[in-house]
Chain length 115, copies 2
Amino acid sequence: MADDSKPVYLRLREIISASILDGAFRDGDMLPSVRAFAAQQGANPLTVAKAYQSFQDDGLVTVKRGVGMFVADGATRRLRAMEKAHFLENVWPPVAAQMQRIGVSLSDLSNMQDA
Amino acid sequence: MADDSKPVYLRLREIISASILDGAFRDGDMLPSVRAFAAQQGANPLTVAKAYQSFQDDGLVTVKRGVGMFVADGATRRLRAMEKAHFLENVWPPVAAQMQRIGVSLSDLSNMQDA
DNA sequence: CCGGCTGTATTATGTCACTGAAGCAGTCAT
DNA sequence: ATGACTGCTTCAGTGACATAATACAGCCGG
């Protein structure tokens, strides 16, 4: 996440995912066109298309060929559930293990957020 | 961490790092030889060497050419400090951001650990 | 219809990280 | 000196990733 060392198309995917979850794009909204988003992000249109591809594979966006790509109905909710499951199964366990090794507790982190 | 999608040499580095932090190797101990560790992990000796390289770049292991590699003095403490700083600066912020997006709180995670 | 927008497919090219194989070089016990 | 261990250097192969130019296919407002 926000890791510049990762492939561009994955970074783009995360940008879009975060935008949907944050409410910048809601169900039914049209996403930026492949060419427009590519220009905005300084990337290649094909790379953007590859990022969009993963979303339509999951049925999170519907494609109206010749018109644009739209956030599917219920996609926000489903995306949040998918990301949540992925987080709890694949992200959190190793993070928790690392925290134990380096001596960081959950209460340390909650105190951080207060600051 | 424990992510099979990451490069082998980084996975090896994490195995070694965890071993040191967990006390399997203490300051002054000799690490497994490049060839031995490679055979044990089913990796290429050069790949192991690349993992070890990152440790000597940080001064955490001292190299006695022709003899072996040894955990440097105070390396355990320094490694823990380095990993802790890296975690707080680079790992935790995006994780916290993602948690907020998907609706997972710290208390949810602490309840998980109880189970 | 037509021009301009949309996404998609094809092909080619360049770059770079990762991995691997073989051999060189230093240390030490014998 | 020899042999067995150590780490290290050099060369090469593979595949993923990103970019590019070009062309095609569907939609829509004029």
